[in-house]
């Protein structure tokens, strides 16, 4: 019996997608390194162990509960004015019947495990130096059990956003072929909720004067993380193009080139902006620009032409350093990893750009409806759920934990035991 008999994709495409999905976790490794490098040296081990712990919790919870809501041929539907609104999936509990599914369905499930792990990892970075692992794990469980499955079903399954084209004649429905909405905007908005609930790092925003600069402790981690992320992103966007954009394998090279061009354009733009703004290019902001270009490519790499991808990346790279500065200096948002700018704003920009680049009529409107759902439903829901978690498991470590560092406070040992950790003058 041919195991690929029920597979709409050709066998070679399936094998290719499988290989690509297996390479894509390098993007997670890159983001974890970036998060660690942009935090302080006394919280580096905490950052990386937290990344692993959150991925583990998210994967387990998604397997047990989240997968039930993320897909399923039949979903929970209500009807308004004769139009069906499929708002959440109705699959089996704890992946029951998984092995009996089609090979493509199994592959899609594997990709969703990586996606949910990615989303929780993005949010974790913004709580650097004060966010407790236990609280982070609880937040990851909430995302994996309910919020991620909901948005994944809307955009990737047979949910109402994916069916906007069918029900309301809006292009091909909401397009999110590389997880810009389901992974990056969700992760970035969750990061904002964590920042607001946990509060800024101690001494970051004094009652008077400008905010205190708290630079990342290891630019090498950050920049190497960017390179790792590129490899993972190339694989992820190509796998997404096969699975969710139904592109033939012969068009995958364009997706890869678009991804590379978007990231490169963004880096060039950020490099120039920071060079003009500060007199010298800023390493951490350039890393943020590169990542914003990759995030933008997640939305439009399988839709845009190479020139359009370059343009989208240039704009992402242009706005990223300006927004990082705006958020910190004027909006009092203490975001060490830049997740709100890079993932939330970059993702939203990419989704909008995908609407402009797509050839179908009504696609811009479909993308705007998706963006409205992310901002109007998903963000308040995430904030409310995290606020409830914070009542039971406080997000923020106590003052002593921040002073001695999260490594010693939560793990009992430092990431760099042979090095002297300097006293921080920012505590006033």
């Amino acid at each position: 019996m041919d195991p690929y008999a029920a597979l709409p994709l050709p066998q070679s495409a399936f094998v290719l997608a499988l290989c690509l999905v297996l390479v894509s976790p390098l993007a997670l490794a890159g983001v974890a390194l970036i998060n660690a490098g942009l935090g302080r040296s006394r919280s580096a081990a905490h950052s990386l162990l937290g990344s692993l712990a959150l991925i583990a919790v998210a994967v387990v919870v998604f397997a047990l509960i989240g997968s039930m809501f993320a897909y399923g041929d039949t979903g929970y539907t209500f009807s308004i004015s004769g139009k069906p609104w499929n708002w959440i999936g109705a699959g089996s509990f704890a992946l029951r019947g998984f092995s009996a599914g089609t090979v493509q369905a199994q592959l899609s499930t594997l990709a969703q495990f990586i996606a949910v792990a990615f989303a929780v990892l993005i949010a974790w970075g913004s709580g650097a130096d004060r966010f407790r692992i236990a609280a982070g794990a609880a937040a990851a469980a909430i995302l994996a059990a309910l919020v991620y499955p909901m948005i994944a079903y809307w955009a990737w399954g047979t949910g109402w956003l994916a069916q906007l084209g069918l029900n309301f004649s809006l292009g091909e429905g909401f397009l999110d072929t590389g997880g810009a909405a389901t992974i990056h905007v969700l992760g970035g908005l969750s990061a904002l909720a964590i920042i607001w609930i946990a509060g800024p790092r101690r001494g970051k925003f004094p009652k008077e004067g400008l905010s205190t600069a708290m630079p990342g402790h290891n630019a090498v981690y950050v920049l190497f993380g960017c390179m790792l992320a590129l490899v993972g992103w190339l694989a992820w966007n190509m796998a997404g193009a096969l699975m969710w954009a139904d592109l033939p394998p012969t068009e995958l090279a364009v997706t890869a080139i678009d991804t590379l061009l978007s990231a490169s354009g963004a880096l060039v733009a950020t490099f120039i902006v920071t060079r003009i703004r500060f007199g010298k290019p800023d390493a951490s902001l350039c890393a943020n620009g590169w990542m914003a270009g990759l995030v933008t490519s997640s939305a439009c790499a399988s839709i845009a032409t190479p020139f359009e991808a370059l343009l989208a990346g240039l704009i992402a790279g242009l706005i990223t350093p300006l927004l990082v500065e705006l958020f910190e200096l004027f909006l009092s948002i203490d975001d060490p990893s830049g997740a709100v700018t890079v993932h939330a704003v970059g993702g939203l920009w990419g989704l909008l750009a995908a609407g402009f680049f797509a050839s179908q009529q009504g696609q811009v409107l479909a993308q705007l409806v998706g963006i409205a759902a992310l901002l109007g439903i998903i963000f308040p829901l995430v904030y409310f759920l995290f606020w409830l978690v914070n009542l039971v498991l406080p997000f923020r470590a106590d003052a002593d934990g921040e002073r001695i560092g999260m490594d010693l406070h939560e793990l009992g040992g430092s990431a760099y035991p042979e090095f002297v950790v300097h006293r921080d003058d920012s505590y006033r």
Binding site: S81, G199, P200, R201, L331, L365, L368, A372, L375
Partner: protein, 58 residues
């Protein structure tokens, strides 16, 4: 103020959903969807202002 802003944001989304159901024409839908997004941005602005009001408490 932050919570009030966050409560305003779903109202913007319902305006967007209503636009899809009430209108068939692309222009009217587009205008109402933009209005819905504007309401969401207003809610977000309130929430950000609420966050800024507690600046320096930590």
């Amino acid at each position: 103020m932050k919570n009030a802003g966050l409560l305003v944001m779903p109202a913007g989304f319902f305006l967007v959903a209503a636009a899809l159901l009430l209108f068939d024409g692309a222009a009217m839908r587009f205008i109402f969807v933009l209005c819905g997004l504007a309401v969401e941005c207003m809610g977000l602005t309130f929430a950000v202002r609420g966050h800024m009001a507690v600046r320096g408490e930590h």
